[in-house]
């Protein structure tokens, strides 16, 4: 099975800090993978590189088998095919929920106003925010904003959706509504690569879990594997801390 999105020997350096150190991972159609690990392990940086939002210092990124940077493709077109959900929803403040979702549809995909509106409503329905279509971000709770953020990402029918700690910035009671939406998406067969601390979610829907620490991949395995008997010491310690 060819992967949709894949990186090889990815390294990202900021000044003197090596955020991501020689990482090679990939995700195939329909798969749901979860990257987890302590804060500062490089998960976010890795995702941003995979999402083509930041250029790697070394290494290559392959989208549908083609080296993205070497082939000098139009990055903007590719970004439209890779959905990205941020930790901080980053909704466009001056637009309503509906407007936020419609923006990409109209100005990146070139849909007509009516078409864009229809698709946007569909996307909002999927995340159960259709009643809030005309509300502005400042009028929505964190969880609601995040759900709109997810709608914005999936409305473009991306081939893969990357989630960068989508619930990390939310209060406990607001997390569940976002996780419910994500579980829904996974059940529908969306290709998802998620960086998160929500290991319960991972256990229920992930096909594979990837443990990262200090910029490197330490261990890879199925959720059962991690929950029963991880191999490495670091993974064992981390699982104990989270579950204990």
């Amino acid at each position: 099975m060819t992967s949709i999105l894949e990186c090889q020997d990815l390294t990202k350096v900021y000044g003197k800090v090596i955020a991501v150190n020689n990482v090679s991972i990939g995700i195939g159609r329909g798969e749901t993978k979860v990257i987890f690990g302590p804060s500062g392990s490089g998960k976010s940086t890795l995702l941003r590189c995979l999402g083509l939002l930041e250029k790697p210092t070394r290494g290559s990124i392959y989208f549908n088998g083609v080296d993205v940077y070497a082939s000098k493709q139009d990055l903007n077109k590719l970004r439209a095919r890779i959905g990205f959900v941020f930790q901080d929803p980053s909704l466009f403040r001056h637009l309503t929920a509906l407007g936020n979702v419609m923006l990409g549809l109209k100005h990146v995909l070139g849909l007509s106003d009516a078409e864009a509106r229809r698709k946007a409503h569909e996307a909002l329905k999927l995340v159960k925010m259709e009643d809030w279509a005309n509300y502005y971000p400042s009028q929505l709770s964190g969880g609601q904003q995040q759900r709109v953020g997810i709608a914005r990402a999936i409305s473009m029918d991306p081939e893969v959706v990357l989630f960068d700690e989508p619930t990390a910035a939310l209060d406990v009671e607001l997390k569940w509504e976002v996780i419910a939406v994500m579980r829904d998406l996974a059940d529908r067969g969306t290709t998802m690569l998620v960086a998160t601390h929500e290991l319960r979610f991972a256990r229920e829907v992930a096909d594979e879990m990837i443990f990262m620490d200090q910029g490197q991949i330490i261990e890879v395995g199925s959720p059962d594997h991690f929950f029963t008997s991880p191999n490495t010491e670091r993974a064992k310690k981390f699982m104990a801390k989270i579950l204990g």
Binding site: N76, L78, A80, S90, H94, L103, V108, R152, M156
Partner: protein
Amino acid sequence: MTPLEQITFLLKAVPVTLAISFLSFLLGLGLGVSLAFMRIYGVAPLRYFSDSYEKFFRSVPVLAVMLLLYFGIGPLVPVFKDPFFTSVISLGIVSGANQSQIFRSAIGSVGRTQMLAAISIGLTQLKAMRYVILPQALFLAVPGLGSEIALLIKDSAYSFIIGVIELMKHTDILRASQRSLILPYIASAIIYVVMTFPAATYLDKWGSRKKRELGL
């Protein structure tokens, strides 16, 4: 002339004053937005140019620029022999530098995360500026722009020195013809205050309100 006639005479010049202010504001707007864009997204030479332009024209008096253009360049380039044109250009050039600073600060306040979110859905940087950053920056810039308009209305008075027939010139004509040193100046001052008041005050209030609404 009765006082009422004098005041009417002064008021006749208001359209010219407002025209000068409005036109130079537009010129400054075009320049300011371009310079701000150049400074944030341009290549090194453009950034340098924008920075230098802003630094220079924020440190020179408008009147000096006006005299330079009218008396210095006028003889060489006939267009600048027209005082109205020259005053609009001078005010606009300087306003461009001020507005560049206003927009840069507004764009900066919008935040990097908005740009990141915009490119994540595939918008080009240009489109992101147009549909995401600028709309928000415009709201943030309103108070600053309000005081800039007020400033231009006041500085339009300088143009009477090179012969433009606007409010200040009318005031001077009254003084000479009526030999009155009281009514023309006081009335003129009040008319200016009335002209600048809405721009300076209401735009500021509107801007603050919008900021709160958007959660900025």
